[in-house]
Every structure is written in C-alpha cells, then in structure tokens.
Amino acid sequence: MSIGIIQVAVTLLIALLLIKPVGSYLVNVFSYEKTRLDRVFGPVERLFYRIMGVHEEQSMDSKQYVTAVLFSNFVMMILIYAVLRLQKHLPFNPDGIDNMPSALAFNTAASFITNTNWQAYSGESGLSYLSQMLAITFPMFTSSATGFAVAIAFIRGISGNKNELGNFYVDLVRLITRVLLPLSFIAALFLVFQGVPQTLHGAVTATTLEGANQVITRGPVASLESIKHLGTNGGGYFGTNAAHPFENPTPLTNLLHILFMLLLPTSLIYAFGVMIKNKRQGWSVFAAMSVIFLIMLGTVLFQEYKGTPALHAMGIHGNMEGKEVRFGFFESALFTAVTTAATTGSVNNMHDSLTPLGGFVPLAEMMLNNVFGGKGVGLLNGLLYVILSVFICGLMVGRTPEFLGRKIEAKEMKLASIALLIHPILILVPTALAFLRPESMASILNPGSHGISEVLYAFTSGAANNGSAFAGLTANKNFYNISIGLVMLFGRYISIIAMLAIAGSLATKSRVAASVGTFRTDTPLFTVILLMMILIIGALTFFPALALGPIAEHLGM
C-alpha cells in the first residue's frame, strides 16, 4: 500500500517540477521573437515555409485561422483515408494486410485527425506498417499540434489588442520542429532500450518452449508510442494498447508514458499565465483542475486496491482483472486517471474490467473534459468554464462580467453556450439512439447497467476526443463507426470554431481598467467558484446517465 502511494507521489512530483521549465519553453516557441534556438531550427523551418508557400510574418484573424485549421485538417483526413483504403497495394506491408473497409476507414481517419484515437480496428491485424506510419503516426503529430495552435491563438486573442491570432502554419511548424519531433525521437530510443520493438521486418514465427507455434507481430512501434503520449493521442500500435508488453514493457516506460501525457497539457496552463502576464491566473485555473484530478485519482486507486466484496470473500485482494503484473494496482489506476484527464485515451489496463466506481472515474473525467485536458483543447474548455463562472458571478452582483479586463457580453456568452452544450448533446443523444436500436444493443458484451456504461463510454470518449474504451463493446459496426466518427468530428471542430470566434470578438474590445468593484479571477476564492461551477454543471448534465450506469452497478454489487 505505502509503496504504491510513493510511486504515485513521486510520479506526480516529477510532473509538477517539469511544468515551469517546459511552460517557459512553450512561451518561447510561440512568442515569434528571435531566440538562440532560431539558429538550430530556423533553416529547416524556413525551408518548410517555402515548400508550403507560407509567409512567416503574415498574421491571421480569427476567421482566417479557423479556415486554415479546417482546410488543412480536411486535406489530411482525406490523405489518411486514402492510405487506409489502399494499404494492400502500398509498400511496407510485410504481413500482407488487406485494405480497410470504408466505414471503418472513415471512423479511423476521423478518429486520428481529431486526436481522439478511438480504435475500432486492431493494429496487429488491421494495419500495414505504412499505415501505422502514414495514417497513424503522422496525424498524431499534426492533430496534437493543431490543438495546441488553437489554444495559443485563443490566448493571443484574449491577451492582445487586435484580431491577430498569429499564423496557424507557423504555429504548427514551430511546435512540431521545436517540441514534438525532437522529444519523440529521444523518447522513442529510450523505449527501444527498454524493449519496445522498432523494425520494418515482418512478423516472426517462434517455436515455443512447448513446441507450439507463436506468430510474433511487431513493427515500427517505438516511434508511434512516444508521440502517442507526448501528443496525448492514445491510439495503440496493438489492440490492447499500452497494456501490451511491446508498447509498455517496463515500469519505467510506464512512467515515461504518464509523464509525457501530463507534460504539455499542464505546461500549457503555465504558459497561458505567462502569456497573459498574470501567472496567478494560470495557477488558479491549474489549482481547480488539480483538485478534481486528485479526487478522481484517489477514487480509482482506492476502488482498484480494494477490489469487489465478492472476490474479497474468496481470498482475492484487489482487482487484477485486465491489469498487468509489472504495473500492479497503483500504476494502473494512476494511468487510468491520467489518460482520461489528459484526454489521451491509451490504456495500460482494461477500463471495462475496472470496478464500477473505478470505471466511473475515467467516464466522469471525460464528461467534465477539462481536467488538464489534452492538446490545448482542455485548457480551452477550462477557460470556457472560467467565462461561465465570471458570467454567473456577474449576474449575482449585478455587474457586467469581465475577464482579463474585457467585458463578456451576449455574443461571447452565446458562443460559449454553444461550445458548452455541444458536448453533452453529442454524448447523450447518440447514446439514447443506440439504445433504441436492437442491432446496436447486440454489440454490448456485459448486460445490465454495465452495458449502459459501455455505450455511454463510447460516445463520451468520442465527444471528448479521448479514445479510450470500455472495449467489450463490439464497435466495428457501421452504426458505431459512422456515429462515433461524426461525434468525434463535431466534438472537435464546433468547439474550436466557437472558441476562436470568442477570441476574435474579445480581441477587438477595449480594455476596462480594473477597479475595486472588479471581480478578480486570480484568487483562491475564484478557484473554489470555478471548481463548484465545473462540478455542478457536470453533475446536472450527466448525473442521470451515470446513475443508470456505474452508480447503479456499484450499488447492486
């Protein structure tokens, strides 16, 4: 027990210590000012700009920025789809994998361009090595970079005084060349050192110690694994994701995966504080998110360590179903809490086999969708709740709400409401629809309230762009492939469009000087208000659904 607490505490402490240096580095990357690093990265970046036909110093307004995001992502999605549909005829296919069917290829392309990494296929049997590289590893870079770019553009909007959000392509290039590529490369080599394969040779047939045959599948795994966690992507090379010993062979690779997931989302909050020239504001948002994270983490740790009463009576302590010996209860539970907080979606243990309240945790974190949150979008969702909080507090005292010296008015509130409401709509409506269709109900593995959780989890995971699953659900059906595919796309782009529109609108407003009557948003009081707002709105929206799923299951156990 105590060593488990130490494992968790040490991991989180390292993550905490990395926030400031990495956050400062992120500010540097996105400041567009000349730095010493330009000498290293400048030549390559200028070459990239020339190839793309982008003028480095040309800034975009919110409309142009959104257009660039949508166009580039659309083109990339088509490229991914094409690779998946044609993989049989393309090179790097030593195991002779067939083309992917259309509905599954749509689902997969939507999944990876939106940084969700929901997987209705299984990598070892469904993808060629080329697809793992071109259709999976490639969007892992661009989709996470897109999310961060949008978050940075939003921050520029609310902190600047013109509708100039920066240049999307420049942001994309700088994040990829200065952060994602170098870190992924180094981490990949460490992963190989620990045992993750990185090869272009096809599967090998082994004669086991008992004389049977075992076909060992492998491939360029390490280069996918490192960006998978750094970019909070989460899509596994193999079906069982980071539980698979080839993806996560040792406790140290597990540690690296967890630290990588937390690295950029948490640092971005610090960078936000620096960019708006109010670090306290960054920390006050960070504190609210941390409190929720720690409550969730504590819950899943305790539940998995305790196990279920029925098993306890048989003399079995804790819940090891779907977990791996090398990680044990604590590092499995920590992984679960982190992967859904940082909206990564990789798993090192099977969420479908968590205890009922243990499974409640990842579900609830994805529903709130703003506990750190991955690839920049998490910070945006957090700021959405900040705007909502100042609005509601403003109503209570009868003052026009302000945030960072700018009045929050009807237009911003309408856009914020859209961004806020789209999330529950995308979760609850398709879930209800699935329950109305007997053929979709047939996909459920575990009947009863656990089955409700399986379907609810799938759409929550899609809407939150998380990608983890209660994997008992047979999701590779046309209905789920198409509906979850659409949920992922809407979940991603509607809130991006709304948030950038808010940024554009706030950017042109004149600043209101702070006075004694100004409601301050960088105090512990505001942290508490923000926390309450997130929990109350989350509970009002999702409690009925959660009550039918994990809560009912827990009470009936």
């Binding site: 580039s72 394969p197 008992e210 062979p249 040792t250 010996v325 086999s353």
Partner: protein, 187 residues
Amino acid sequence: MKSLYTAIRASILFMIVCGLLYPLLTTEVAQILFPFQAQGSLVEDNGKVKGSVLLAQAFTSPKLFHPRASAAEYDPTASAATNAAVASPDYIKSMKETVDAIKKENPSLQNKIPADLVTTSGSGFDPDLSPEAAKAQVPRIAKATGLSEQLLLSLIDKHTKGRQLGIFGEPRVNVFELNRDLLAQSK
C-alpha cells in the same frame, strides 16, 4: 483557393516528415543502438526463434510454470482482454471455479489467493507472475517433475526482478525465462 492550396502542400509535407522520415530515421538509429530490443527481444536456440522474452506463451504442461490467463490464447496476431465486468454474477461464478481449481492443486492456499494467478491479463501476453503466484504453482510442478520444492523456490528467487529504481513497478518473475531455466534443470 490559395488557402486550400497551402493546406494541401502543408499536409503532404507533414505526412512525409512526420509519417515517413521520422519513423524511418528512428528505425535506423534504434537498429544500430539496440538491435536485440528493436527486433522484439527474440530468444534463439540453435538459430531457431523460441519466443520473445516480453510475450507470454501458452504453457499447459503440469511440469512448467503457467503464465496468467490470456483472452487472446497467447496469439500475438489478435491481442485481447476479457473485458469482463468484475461485479457481474457471471464473473464471480467463473472466478469461484478458478479459485477452487487452484486450491485443489495447492491445498496450502486458503485465504490468500494471489490476484494475478486467477485473473486474466490486460494485454493477453503478461510475461510476468508475482513471486507469490509463481510459488503457488510449486507443489504441482514438484509432483509432476520430481524436482524438489526447494530447488523450484530457489529458481523463482533467482528470476525475481525487483522494482525499477527501487520504486517503480511490482516485484515479478518472467515466466519464459523461469521455464527455460526449469527445462534446463530437468534435463
């Protein structure tokens, strides 16, 4: 129109850089630095691949240590977990049967069943057992092979790995390596 053209050029550029150059460069360097791991940690005897240290194999003989149960039947071309709902009556029933079978095999186990011994792994290839789960199999193997329990216990101790850096992970025994050693002993 110009912005669409830029989007196309950017997409193709990143596809080549991140999707081709990066993984191929990583492969080259990894193959030079860590050729054994990069190929999948394969163990060979007389030029024949016997398996990967990292992947569990199906061991069914009573003379060998058995790895954790696998929903994939130890077939790496289709990794899988049970995804069983652990609070469901079906699961509890099947666990009762497993526990009873284990107790029959080793009557000394009564109120403390090693959890990993009776549950199915997440990956389908968990290469490890907890030392307790390995020790629980000792009476059966001793009976089947005629080797002393003491020797078997010392083999387990020899192959037990501690926590990494003294903190991370759980103590564990690699079943493949343990069985290889065991087979060498029985010869």
